[in-house]
Subunit: 381 residues, 4 copies
């Protein structure tokens, strides 16, 4: 447990290693949090939900931090309003790393003792929580640098695996009753993955691989962003109000398409999976193709036959409780249930998802207009 | 067909009979349209989708009206932006009634001839469309008068049937595969009710009758609007930003609760169904009761055993396409599909729903924050 | 006094004679009030400040009207928020005319008696107040009809005198001490015209006539709206945010300029005074001409040698108190003083100013971005 | 000139010495710029207006910086929108100090040569410009730290001179013609101080010293923020929309008033000059006292008999051009003239004004709602 704890915590530091102090501080849009804030907030989680209740004589690092780094737990009291996170120059980055060091030392002490099942569960939740924020660290850093007019590279060496899309076939499934949701004794899970339950599905086909940049370019070139008939009403309003013409981070320079990457501006690679599209774009693309997006039940049933893991994939499913869903008691119970309205489900995982932080039953969710995650498109029919 | 046409069209006139000319014109919030606009827009529908394509030598009443009274059909071209509807003093109310008269005469002529199946379908769609707007006429008139600081009555005679809630028992259903959706040859339906399909449901119980004012008052009195734990995150933000303390149209005067009705301000009646709550309130109430809202499949399966028809009931289901859903071609196809994101399903019907305009498979939908419809709460567990 | 009272009050009715009931109700932008509201508010003024304090046993017409038709007198208590005026369908237009009739009868009774000096003063203030609203009636009606996509004419017969601009010469004045402000015993005045006081002016020249449409077109054609250097910083922001390319009510159709008038859409007349420009436009035009706008002291000194009365003319003077300015006591004191920040002075009068409601010392004022009044440009150097 | 140049430039560094890197980056409100931006922008001014035109073979430090650090000079081309300044994490603080070092070296080289009159003037303008930004550095740093919920001190040692207000008498001036504005050959001036010209003033009295915290507390305690009659209409709207109850940085803790200072939170000192009030508050206070604010001509005439220099003092004068005002040609000409609308004049200087950067003819200006400068109140009658 100590090893795993230190491994996960250290991964956050590795993600931030190439950053300048300035990069840790800002919040260019409300959905993007300052990297400093992620580092502190995940630490606050361990302090509040593990060290304070479980470690004898634990001395809080700094009482003010509770107020400053509580993200959304209403049950824990007052908090800094989300859009103001980017105005907090203090505690400094150095303070935050000291906070992490202090909490890590205390956690290691605690974890070397005998661990009750309850304690193990909360620690595991804290690690999963940190991994979720690691993914946000990646995407928020990309946003901060990618919206700077100088387009600085995060690192010129950063390479993540992206495979060419070669396999465009579909897999077919017969109608019938299928089971989805977390299978008992299958390791960690979030409350929203329960209860495992039956769903009746009609016959369906789902594409093995994701939609490529080349396929998405065909949509753009055929006037996809100019024709209302492919779009939801809200999506069309979004396109027109924001003059959208392409995925986020795409730039058309002298009639060639480029995009911002962690290594700076690069030409679009035709055979890679399209990225940084929102639900409206994913859905409009599918309509243009005379197909549709899959539901989350279909995806989960089919997952073992799919090539997945590079993009979070937009489902045509709203984020709703499974039959028998129960919120945990107390502040931890605020984790998932309170977001079950106005959000769309995403399935899969992305190139910046932390290792061991993906599984077939995982339910991610975002508002349908957001694009700063590594989101992509899978087709069904 | 002529009789039915005239009956439906006449009903719109009867709803507006007690109005002053001034009441026809205004749009106090973007969701509420001027009554004049409803009368003209439903007429424009018949002119555009029936008379122009189907009546030989039809002469348009006034070419400008297409622009002014097209509500949202992008395929039909330019239109007045929705929030500006309330600034159009011309065409006048008299003009609009003349427009109705002209179109009705032309329609009657057309309907006295031989009607193709296709024509019959479009006329029926136009009548259903008019009935939908009749319900909006009722709710928009209530909003216009109920938000006037003088609280004028619509009519001191207006009485609609509202029954006391006596039956508070639950009906139980076993787990199994159920069929929902429009049953072939069962009369008119909207495209969103198709395809009829199977769903697997877990065992569930659903209350026979709606939640009463008395029950909702207990929620208010126990601090329901002051405790975040009952609310969705978006719902809690809505409560706090708008200082919400009760359903729409409720006023607390010297510690007694009153509400605005079509007959003016009246004391709350404890045994009547609570009304004018939004999805957030319905859901918070259910959580406070340690229950939940039903899904639309549960509701449809149970409907024959329920007392329903006075309130549109908020479902814990997002508005999504049924398996096999197909949009109709052309402008008519914009009717339902493009709204299938960011909306919540309502089932049932309300005291102001037009006669013959309700059925068990009917799927209504609104954004979760809206309250000006006659919306209520049904519990499940 | 009775004759004058009835003459002024009747003029409001004559202005509204061609209106449809619908035209009386709406408020398309916050600066434009519904005609119904003007008619009621000016009546409320007589009821509140004349009849209630001065007429024995006066019985209020309707207690609710105080709340509904008080415009901005904080001292008189609660009032309907300004942007909500256009949502009040009741009291109806007929109610408002009955209100006017009742108050007029009571006023005539009162005015037939012996009138104290104080009473005479308040009645006169009420009449001047009504005349101010008559001008707003004209401009608000123009806005309501001129922003309707059908461009209905107010009346096809309406003609007001507009002279061609022939005289483009300048009048020169030597430096020296001049007196400006209301001259004792010179008839009615507003508190903002006092005290008469001395100002030292440098030598200046001021053009006899206003700027013509033809001259303003030259500014447009030379790229005046595309070059930041002619504009104030706030003005340039306004141009760019609103994509402004011409005065209000101007439309470019197939490369010819038209404008909306009380008779409908008409071609621009080159030799008439340019109209419906705001302070930013007036100032940018003057800068483009390498001249400037006059100050209000210069204007008042020069007025007898100028051709004026068709446009309110933007001054390069902020609206500030004259030396020795005193607010009246009580609610009447709210009339002018509280607006003495963030407003620009206008001098002159316009084609829709009521007869006898203009004089050389009159100080009008508006925010610098507004254009719906009959505003024009005079040059100085 | 070299000495003066280095002295002024070094002062900016001394102001920033106690800052953490994080403090340099953020922009909590649009009026407050990041300290990093001030340091870079003042450097950009020297590069753009001095080095590029005047230094032979000058090599630009980095072409991108022109875009990033141009504040408002439209003539120089594209620029980062003002509200986005706080999202620029790159160039880093270190980059900016390197930029300053490079430009300073180049400037010193240039200044050691023969300097034309024109060059001297632009260098002097650059230094005055830097001094203006030094004052903004002080006030923006105060805002950044003072709005952090931890209220960190800028420095526990920072002490500036503030004198107790002892002298409350008035000085009287007779009516007559006075001269104001920049006197030829009196050192540096901004274009807005010209031309020196005559004004006729009525007899007036002006208080020797500023209003104290104690006097302002009496205004608060007598309900000054709760009574509309003291306020301009716009001021009253500002009070109510923002629930204002005291000057900026004031906090009422257990019935005692504290304020944030550069040393952290401290109790209010009764005999010091009130600070961080806007024009609306200054004007409401004067009205409550049955007095008024002075005009800028009165202030300039009286200045030698006044105790001034601790607060910028709100004048009851709008910021307008003096008679004969001429904008300079080119980008430099954008300096002052384009702000001459919607702004109020301030006279004097403040405790954070740079040494030698104040004079009797200096005209400062801000929008009437702003409070983050060291603004105070002087009374006249």
């Amino acid at each position: 447990m100590v090893d795993r704890y230190l491994e996960v915590r250290g991964h956050s530091h590795r993600i931030c290693a190439p950053l300048k102090i300035e990069d840790y501080v800002v919040q260019p849009i409300v959905d993007v949090s300052p990297p400093k804030w992620h580092l502190a907030h995940t630490t606050w989680f361990f302090e509040t939900f593990v060290l304070k209740p479980f470690k004898k004589d634990y001395r809080e690092f700094d009482a003010d931090y509770s107020f400053v780094f509580n993200s959304y737990y209403e049950a824990i009291g007052e908090r800094v309003k989300r859009p103001d996170r980017g105005n907090l120059t203090r505690p400094t980055v150095e303070d935050v790393y000291n906070y992490r060091k202090y909490v890590d030392e205390q956690m290691v002490e605690l974890l070397q003792g005998n661990l009750s099942k309850e304690l193990q569960n909360v620690v595991e939740l804290g690690l999963q929580h940190e991994q979720q924020h690691q993914e946000l660290l990646w995407t928020d850093i990309k946003y901060i640098l990618g919206n700077n007019p100088l387009f600085p590279a995060y690192s010129t060496e950063y390479i993540y695996r992206e495979e060419n899309i070669s396999e465009k076939g579909f897999v077919q499934f017969p109608e019938g009753i299928y089971e989805i949701g977390y299978k008992e004794n299958d390791g960690f899970f979030f409350d929203n993955e329960k209860e495992r339950h039956k769903e009746f599905l009609n016959e369906f086909s789902i594409r093995k691989s994701l939609v490529s940049n080349e396929e998405y370019l065909a949509f753009i070139n055929s006037g996809g962003y100019k024709n209302h008939q492919y779009w939801h009403s809200d999506g069309w309003a979004w396109v027109r109000e924001n003059n959208i013409e392409a995925p986020m981070y795409w730039y058309n320079i002298y009639d060639k398409w480029y995009c911002y990457t962690y290594q700076g501006i690069k030409e679009i690679e035709a055979q890679k999976a399209v990225c940084h599209v929102n639900f409206y774009e994913a859905s409009a693309f599918a309509t243009w193709k005379a197909m549709r997006l899959p539901t989350e039940a279909e995806w989960e049933v089919a997952a073992e036959k799919l090539i997945w893991g590079e993009r979070w994939e937009w489902m045509n499913s709203a984020y709703l409780p499974y039959p028998g869903f129960k919120k945990a008691d107390g502040a931890i119970g605020e984790y998932n249930g309170k977001f079950m309205v106005n959000q769309q489900v995403l399935r899969g995982a992305s190139v910046v998802t932390s290792p061991q932080h993906s599984r077939i039953t995982y339910r991610n969710f975002f508002q349908p207009n957001l694009r700063w995650q590594f989101t992509g498109i899978r087709l069904a029919k």
